[in-house]
């Protein structure tokens, strides 16, 4: 923690010094690097690429996306936090930033960033095989309650991943222990959906867009979505509250940000630009095409949202025994 806070201090100091210089040459005066902690071709990569392309259109300088992968996202997240806060390195961070530090895998938290805008949030769904006897979330919940602990199996991502927390949170909200349903770790959502289709699992809690191809193929059904309201792309899937009266929501979110201590000038340019981008037809079309859940918050709202998510993740992880003591 020590080195980090020193970095942050140094960073803010540098930002203060740099401020007058920036006032002279209007930001952005040269190409900006956008770091992405996940590999090319994934969902986060897609979001940051479209945002970068639209920022380039808005602000007239190239925004180059660089995939800084490794260490299950830790390397890229840390790279954004530790970059020079001069506005020429920005990045995208994902909900993992609210989870990794609870597991003791990194010291970087949401506080090490200057949030600029929340661009998307994908809530988890509850999917079952099309031949499954459970027709509604309520059916499934009752079957879970009636089953012996560990008998039913669910999957969607790796151990301690976001969809595992979604399951733990849902079970907790039902008054059950977090491991009442056995979690089968998978290497991402796609293999879990495949195993669901092969009748190897009882249900999955990955996001609905991740299950979309299987839904379209008629191989599985989505019983509910753990969101405050129905998804615009999937209006037929009820929310958890509608389906069974339990108000539990969570999600995998993506935030555009810079390192802590980003100059106010930069923030003043990027924040409204992101707001315009979010409302733009290009971005909305993109979200609709991929089935991604839209959600926007300005810088202050994003900060609040991340703080709240960080706390909620911590609680869920402690309940599930996933957090490091």
């Amino acid at each position: 923690m020590n080195t980090l806070s020193r970095r942050t201090l140094l960073g803010s100091g540098a930002a203060l010094l740099a401020a007058p210089a920036l006032a002279q040459a209007k930001w952005p005066a040269r190409p900006v690097q956008m770091l992405c902690p996940w590999a090319a071709g994934g969902g986060t990569d897609a979001v940051v690429r479209i945002v970068a392309a639209l920022l380039e259109k808005e602000l007239g300088q190239p925004f180059n996306v660089v995939n800084r992968t490794g260490g299950s996202g830790v390397v890229g997240h840390a790279a954004i936090a530790q970059s020079a806060p001069d506005g020429y390195t920005l990045g995208i961070i994902t909900s993992e930033i609210g989870m990794l530090h609870w597991q003791g895998l990194t010291e970087v938290t949401y506080r090490n960033y200057t949030p600029l805008g929340l661009m998307n949030n994908d809530p988890p769904g509850i999917q079952v095989n099309v031949s499954s006897p459970y027709k509604t979330a309520k059916d499934l919940a009752e079957a879970i309650k009636a089953s012996a602990p560990g008998k039913m199996k669910a999957s969607g991502t790796g151990q301690g991943g976001i969809w595992h927390l979604a399951l733990a949170g849902w079970l907790n909200a039902m008054g059950l222990k977090a491991d009442h349903v056995r979690w089968v770790p998978s290497n991402g959502a796609a293999p879990a959906m495949q195993d669901l289709a092969a009748n190897g699992l009882d249900f999955t809690t990955c996001s609905v867009p991740e299950a979309r191809a299987m839904l379209d193929a008629g191989r599985c059904r989505s019983l509910a979505v753990m969101a405050p309201e129905r998804l615009s792309v999937f209006p037929n899937i009820p929310t958890l509250k509608e389906a069974m009266g339990i108000d539990f929501t969570t999600g995998a979110w993506r935030v555009i940000c810079g390192p802590a201590g980003l100059p106010a000038e930069v923030k003043a340019v990027v924040e409204p630009a992101l707001a315009r981008i979010y409302k733009s037809k290009d971005y909305q079309d993109f979200l609709a095409a991929r089935g991604f859940g839209g959600m926007y918050a300005d810088a202050a709202g994003t900060e609040k949202y991340m703080a709240e998510a960080d706390r909620a993740f911590g609680e869920a992880m402690k309940a599930a025994g996933l957090a490091k003591a």
Binding site: A40, R49, S72
Partner: protein, 503 residues
């Protein structure tokens, strides 16, 4: 029919044709450079596809990956440095042919049978996609476990050295794949407190290290080998028809195995090449020639890995489940371009689907002329002095490792694996088996552990399900077969032609 015409119109658009040609050349060049891989070639295309029309974008990915998988054979054959993990299985064989002065035949076989495999694979995609998809969906973790296990056993069949050493190398690979937190438990293992190790060790830096860097290391301490007899580089395709006729049966078997393995998500071209090469040796009439520069295995494995590349698109297109690392990237591009995977792609956007088929076919056809040019250019390294080739390879290793993740740690990994590969090679441990272990490790563990979790620690379900039962029987058959032969030979006191029992 209207869809078909529409598809032709879509593909005939100038931007698509230019995209195909440019990405073909790009794929050939990147795949043929030692230290750079097909996956990297595809990953680096993603930013470019962002600016292209949907069909052109997908065309670049299809074309570049097919070309790169083929041209990965080129450095393997000429320098004993495989360009992709898929080529690692038969690199020694191809290099032995080069030393025998048959480089053109080895490379020609790679080219010709890659193209055939690609086309047969595409036809399987066109004609049997729903059927194959059904098969892929009947595979649960139990079946995948056996499949991965069978794949691992190929290590012993492929290696020419002691099978025990091959198994040891493969186990070492499996152990390396344990590093990081990408395991079913999500627990960091063997990371020694290094953040960079949390994500585990990628197969590509390992491959580049054990083959390319260790080759440069060997070059440092051995005198320049006697130059190959100076002669005209012969015709590349002249003998291929003869090979096709002679090895027709292995070729079809290779295509078939490639298609099956390609369809199963997670296995992909790497495993297809290994399994096919091992099969080829197992069922060959002259297995003792394998490893000494015998084209039979190249025919089968070359056809197999390109066939799997095409059929790997089946689960990707129908269910959005990637068949391998390349299609994982491709799915991202499909989504980005609004060609969302799913059955609707086949019904509502049939013209786009036909366009994809056409691109596959075109890519595999233009592979032949472009591949010939590429082989002719690449063959000049056989004449270049070693002191000018090896340093450039070293530089490419550094850049290639850095390129995909912009992470310098991969370069460090490449150096470390260079040393490991060098020591292993000197002591008769096959490095290819190590790479196989690293490639398959995650898949083996993932499916083994999750199967155990699903069965609550019970072993029975591993044999209960019909498909897994068959796979299990095959595994045990393959395991016990050599032991049985060995015991039989011992008790009979008979000598194998190879002289196994002579000691």
């Amino acid at each position: 029919m209207i869809d078909m015409l529409e598809a032709v119109r879509l593909v005939a658009a100038p931007d698509v044709l230019i995209a195909i040609l440019a990405s073909a050349i790009y794929g050939l060049v990147v795949g043929s450079l030692p230290g750079l891989s097909a996956t990297m070639a595809t990953a680096l295309l993603v930013p470019v596809t962002f600016w292209l029309s949907p069909i052109a974008a997908v065309a670049t990915i299809i074309t570049a990956s097919a070309m790169a998988i083929f041209s990965g054979d080129i450095p393997g054959c000429l320098l004993r440095i495989p360009g992709t993990p898929a080529s690692a299985a038969y690199t020694d064989e191809a290099y032995a042919m080069t030393r025998k002065g048959q480089a053109e035949m080895a490379l020609g076989a790679g080219l010709w049978f890659s193209a055939i495999g690609g086309i047969v694979g595409t036809l399987s995609l066109v004609l049997m996609a729903p059927l194959l998809a059904e098969m892929a969906l009947s595979f649960s973790t139990f079946e995948y476990f056996w499949l991965a296990f069978l794949g691992l056993m190929c290590a012993t069949l492929v290696a020419r050295s002691s099978p025990i050493k091959a198994i040891a190398s493969m186990l070492l690979g499996l152990l390396i794949s344990c590093i990081g937190m990408e395991n079913p438990a999500g627990t960091p293992r063997f990371t020694f407190g290094l953040t960079d190790l949390l994500g585990g060790i990628e197969p590509i830096p390992a491959l580049v290290g054990v083959f390319a860097v260790s080759e440069v290391m060997r070059a440092m301490i051995t005198p320049e080998p006697p130059p190959l007899p100076r002669r005209k580089f012969g015709s590349i395709l002249a003998n291929q028809w003869k090979l096709t006729k002679k090895y027709q049966w292995p070729m079809w078997r290779g295509n078939f195995i490639g298609i099956i393995i390609g369809v199963l998500p997670g296995a992909g071209a790497d495993m297809a090449a290994w399994v096919s090469y091992a099969m080829s040796k197992k069922f060959s009439k002259e297995p003792e020639k394998f490893g000494t520069g015998h084209p039979e295995g190249l025919v089968e494995a070359g056809a197999s890995n390109n066939a799997s590349l095409a059929s790997g698109w089946v689960p990707s297109l129908l269910f959005g489940i990637p068949g391998d690392t390349i299609t994982a990237i491709a799915i991202g591009v499909l989504y980005m371009k609004g060609l969302n995977p799913g059955p609707t792609l086949f019904t509502e956007r049939a013209s786009s689907m036909y366009a994809l088929y056409l691109i596959f076919i075109i890519a595999n056809i233009i592979m032949i002329p472009l591949g010939i040019v590429m082989i002719r250019i690449a063959a000049t390294v056989l004449r270049a002095p070693r002191a000018s080739v090896m340093p450039v390879i070293l530089l490419l290793c550094a850049v290639g490792a850095f390129a995909t993740g912009s992470n310098l740690f991969s370069v460090l990994m490449v150096a470390a694996f260079g040393c490991i590969g060098f020591v292993m090679e000197r002591n008769g441990y096959p490095v290819a088996a190590l790479v196989l272990g690293i490639v398959m490790g995650t898949m083996v563990e993932q499916n083994f552990i999750t199967s155990l979790i699903k069965s609550d620690g019970d072993i029975l379900p591993f044999f209960e399900r019909p498909v897994s039962g068959v796979l299990a029987a095959m595994t045990f058959g393959a395991l016990l077969w050599p032991v049985g032969i060995w015991i039989w030979n011992r008790t009979q006191g008979r000598r194998l032609p190879a002289g196994t029992a002579a000691r």
